[in-house]
Assembly symmetry: C4
């Protein structure tokens, strides 16, 4: 089965996720610059989530670029990933509107944690399921970066319980780690 519609559908869902987050930025009633100040944390969490959804789109783009065909299992593994990503606007709003309180920051990390596991499952589904994706399997290798991120998200949640900014710092760190799209795939399949 072709992958075109899978890509189109994923692009659509991710495009909506990345865009509806901005609806959390409620238009302020004041007309002076100070009216924007309470929006600071909301904007900050929006920026981080925009980068994260962008990272997922970039990696998803690279991943499926390297794939030749998709089976039924992949459709569900992909939907599973989209499900966790679809919860990012919710935790983004919760974290931002509560000025990075402990529990919302930990909840934000939990969604990142589940998304990273869903991504790892999608990669596995693509590599295991099909012989024609052997090139991808070799290119991905042991997927150390993906596993490291999952562990770091878990650490971020734990650190958020100590102090929310510690957890937030970890999330920024992982984002920087992924900022550059997966060169492993790019290099081997270029």
């Amino acid at each position: 089965m072709g992958k075109t519609r899978l890509e189109a559908f994923s692009d659509g869902v991710i495009a909506i996720i990345i865009t509806i987050m901005v609806l959390e930025l409620k238009v302020p009633h004041g007309v002076i610059l100070e009216a924007l100040l309470p929006l600071g944390p909301v904007l900050l969490s929006y920026v981080l989530s925009f980068v994260y959804v962008g990272i997922y789109w970039n990696n998803h783009h690279h991943l499926l670029h390297a794939v030749q065909g998709v089976g039924g299992g992949v459709l569900w593994a992909n939907l599973h990933l989209l499900f966790w990503l679809s919860l990012i606007p919710f935790v983004t709003g919760w974290m931002g509107e509560n000025h990075f309180a402990t529990v919302p920051v930990a909840a934000y990390g939990f969604i990142l944690f589940m998304s990273s596991i869903a991504y790892i499952l999608l990669v596995r589904c693509l590599t295991r399921h099909q012989r024609e994706n052997r090139a991808l399997a070799e290119a991905i290798g042991s997927d150390g970066k993906g596993r490291l991120s999952t562990v770091l998200y878990a650490a971020g949640i734990a650190l958020a319980l100590v102090h929310p900014w510690l957890g937030f710092a970890v999330y920024i760190g992982v984002a920087l780690l992924w900022f550059i799209p997966d060169r492993r795939i790019e290099k081997r399949l270029a």
Copy 2:
């Protein structure tokens, strides 16, 4: 006429339906974990609807994959299906926010019932209308699974009036029945 734009438009509408449902998950005011508790039923109904819309997208994907061309009637049969699917976010919110009360659960079943009828009509429109889709017609056969679902949704509505959780259990059952994409089509046209 080509089917590319029909697929693209359907992908767009289904992607929006599956994503705007998350807007019903209103950001809670509290910052403790208990603040999420009232969201439990909303999240539960969101998960079920996410799976259902995912099932429809998967089956729609498989169905149109097997089709070679579409006529004017198909465009309307497809829009008719999208209409009922577009009401899923509404009944999802109604059911979740009212903690699975009797009438909302029955209303949820009604939308699933109408969507399944719309899907059957779309399949008929595709198989009857065009000679080139004979392969599809043979692959679908008597479409027992589709008809069974429609009957089960009706039973679910009736059971919901006895006790809402009975209806809800039926909806989950049908979802599990459809979880695996339509292997009949996949097998014959692979």
Copy 3:
């Protein structure tokens, strides 16, 4: 220049327009069937608008299907059409929530009127601008149906001022007129 991205962008915008209208269907607080009664007019106006946006998508689909290339003017004529279509959710909500009061029904007709003019301008832009679309120009002919609709919308607005249901009846009539996609194009270019 290719028309693929113009189609993709238009599909995206129209898919969002047709779907966000459902957000006007606010989840009711009651859990009895009567709680849905106040939603009756909103649902009725939603159905009509869903059909109208569907008609525009179908005709847009047929129109661009018959086109080989698009120039800069077409991009703007297309955006102009999308602008008026984007106001349909607004007048749909206004008309439905006010139980088909005079002014909202007339305003609804005004948006349909402007959309039909925008569609005529798009058709002209496509036929005049480019030699390669001569087949389209011949197929469209004098575009009597488009002009008739524009006149009928104007009549509908006037009749709405006498009694809103008269205007509403005219809008339904025009929708029925367009229900079948443009067979003129389909026949000649099939």
Copy 4:
């Protein structure tokens, strides 16, 4: 790497941005024509933003049309542009709902200013990074129009602080300047 998915994703995000702005047009409670009067400024700012997002889509369309392949850096430069565009609905609502008060008009100009810088960065990323885009680099030339716009936005922000309508007039002026898609690229690569 292909550019198809980059175009599809950008089309999706821009389509959502241009459409969700209409959600700021809240359905009025009154049913007389005067009930629409307070919406005047909101509608005016909506029209300007619709034109601006349309301009960006048109130019983006032309720009990527002239490109053969995209690298990792382009994905991020593109996301950076989409980020600033995604804030347009927010400043549109703020400016319109406050009847073009000084600070919101200046903030609107700031988002246009940042978007124009993001667009220049995207153009640079496309021209510098890849040898195959030499045709594009030559076609763009020194990109005087892009730089002029950036300067004019800055001037508009300053003038808005003197009187908001002066700034608004500048934004309209720049929109008119860009109304016609980039003929430089169209001419050379036609």
